[in-house]
């Protein structure tokens, strides 16, 4: 699985950080920062939750 983030769409809700703190962070402007774009194991579920709860469609998963 590969994760792509679009910080132009990000609205800074931080939902991805709550869902998958090992994969996502927020910068000083609260915009999404991708920590690891290739999740494995349990992180795959967390990545899917992050994509699902993102309010602005800023996270794309490719399998």
């Amino acid at each position: 699985m590969r994760i792509d983030v679009d910080s132009g769409r990000c609205v800074g809700a931080g939902q991805c950080v709550l869902a998958a703190p090992a994969l996502f962070d927020q910068d000083e402007a609260a915009m999404v920062v991708l920590l690891n774009g290739e999740p494995t194991g349990d992180e795959v579920d967390a990545a899917q939750e992050a994509e699902n709860v993102c309010p602005s469609g800023a996270i794309t998963l490719t399998t």
Binding site: G12, G14, L18, A30, S56
Partner: protein
């Protein structure tokens, strides 16, 4: 069949003694398309109750949040909540791209990390409010003595309101939300007093900046002092009654489900389960748009029912059960899309700290009334409790 010939379904008002959310929501979710209804003001609206459809409405750029647009649903004026026309910076009613300027200026103050930094302050505030309630002896109204002061004192501290002014701040915001105890004139006066006070606070922070939200927002220079006044008013109002009602209803639900006390997943499940801000996400279509198999014409009003979406079986197993063990985080209690609640991480932190602290420090806490006979806010825009008598 034209739109005007379509069947108008009565708006599902909350009935004292009946379950919340109102039972018709479940039936609406099963109907094809959306439900045409009429608000008590006479405004025609499309009611949206499915989780997928609510998320679609709240993320569609052809659908507007601007209340001055033709066809925007008109709801009865609630309390002293001012409108965008009265106050610049009331950005819940502003569409992108103009909305983005406000969101981008404010959201850094509400990131997951920034809210984590505020946790010691929230803990201190919760402890102080609890001290005051416990001083009353063995019983109190938890809404008046705890649930309402906590969010008000937390936000006023974050804003940098001087300590001596916090009681003034708290009393005026309370006047705004307490529809039973205040008249419309009193609420109008409270709005004017608060706006005047916020104006003075901004002037003070321009002269002597501190480590607070108002000073930092001024330093960015993105918002004018006039806009900042409206923004601060919005933060106060949007985060006060909603949070207080969540706190109070959560106490009732956790006392009935004590095995979940202390679980970090409690806040999101309570937010989903109670969905207090069921009726606030009003919209209007700017172009023709199809949602849930229903054609919505340009200029028609839309009312996503948040509690409907949060009880949708298609999104949550056993949706009417309270179960923090589930994955509830796709709930729309904070809305969805670009307007999703700015303060959501603050609310989560407040709820988490409130319940941990309350049940640890007051292990004998009990409701001092028949739960079914509690004064639920069947009449308010925001669902909740007018009062919650407790003893310990």
């Amino acid at each position: 069949m034209t739109v005007s010939d379509q069947e108008i379904t009565a708006f599902p008002v909350r009935v004292p003694g009946a379950p919340y959310p109102p039972c018709p929501y479940a039936e609406f979710r099963e109907r094809p398309g959306l439900v045409r209804s009429e608000l008590p003001t006479g405004s025609r609206v499309w009611l949206v109750t499915r989780h997928e459809d609510v998320r679609a409405v709240l993320t569609d750029r052809r659908i507007s949040s601007n209340p001055s647009r033709e066809g925007f649903p008109s709801v009865a004026r609630t309390g002293g909540v001012p409108s965008q026309e009265q106050i610049p910076g009331w950005f819940v009613g502003i569409d992108p791209p103009e909305h983005d300027r406000f969101r981008k200026a404010l959201i850094p103050e509400f990131s997951v990390r920034r809210i984590k930094e505020w946790r010691p302050l929230i803990q201190e505030t919760v402890d102080r409010c609890l001290d005051r309630m416990l001083e009353l002896g063995g019983s109190a109204d938890l809404v008046a003595e705890f649930a309402l002061p906590v969010p008000s004192l937390v936000i006023s501290t974050m804003l940098g309101v001087p300590f001596v002014d916090r009681d003034f701040f708290e009393s005026r915001t309370r006047t705004l939300v307490d529809l039973k105890a205040s008249t419309e004139d009193e609420r109008d006066l409270a709005v004017r007093e608060l706006l005047r006070y916020i104006g003075r606070l901004i002037a003070l922070k321009q002269k002597r900046p501190g480590e607070d939200l108002v000073s930092r927002l001024l330093a960015t220079g993105v918002l004018s002092p006039q806009e900042l006044t409206g923004v601060i008013m919005l933060l106060l109002i949007a985060g006060h009654e909603t949070t207080a009602n969540n706190i109070a209803l959560g106490v009732v639900t956790l006392l009935a489900n004590p095995q979940w006390i202390g679980d970090e997943r409690v806040a999101d499940e309570l937010l989903r389960y109670h969905s207090v801000a069921d009726l606030v996400s009003l919209r209007v279509a700017v172009e023709d748009v199809e949602v849930g198999g229903q054609l919505i014409r340009a200029g028609e009003g839309i009312m996503p029912l948040i509690a409907g979406a949060n009880r949708d079986l298609a999104a949550f197993e056993r949706p009417d059960e309270f179960d923090p063990g589930r994955s509830a985080r796709q709930h729309v209690a904070f809305g969805y899309g670009v307007h999703q609640c700015l303060g959501q991480n603050l609310v989560r932190a407040e709820m988490d700290i409130v319940y941990r602290t309350l049940f640890r420090r007051v292990p004998t806490l009990a409701i001092d009334a028949d739960v079914d006979a509690l004064p639920f806010k069947y009449d308010g825009t925001i669902f909740g409790l007018h009062a919650l008598p407790v003893r310990w």
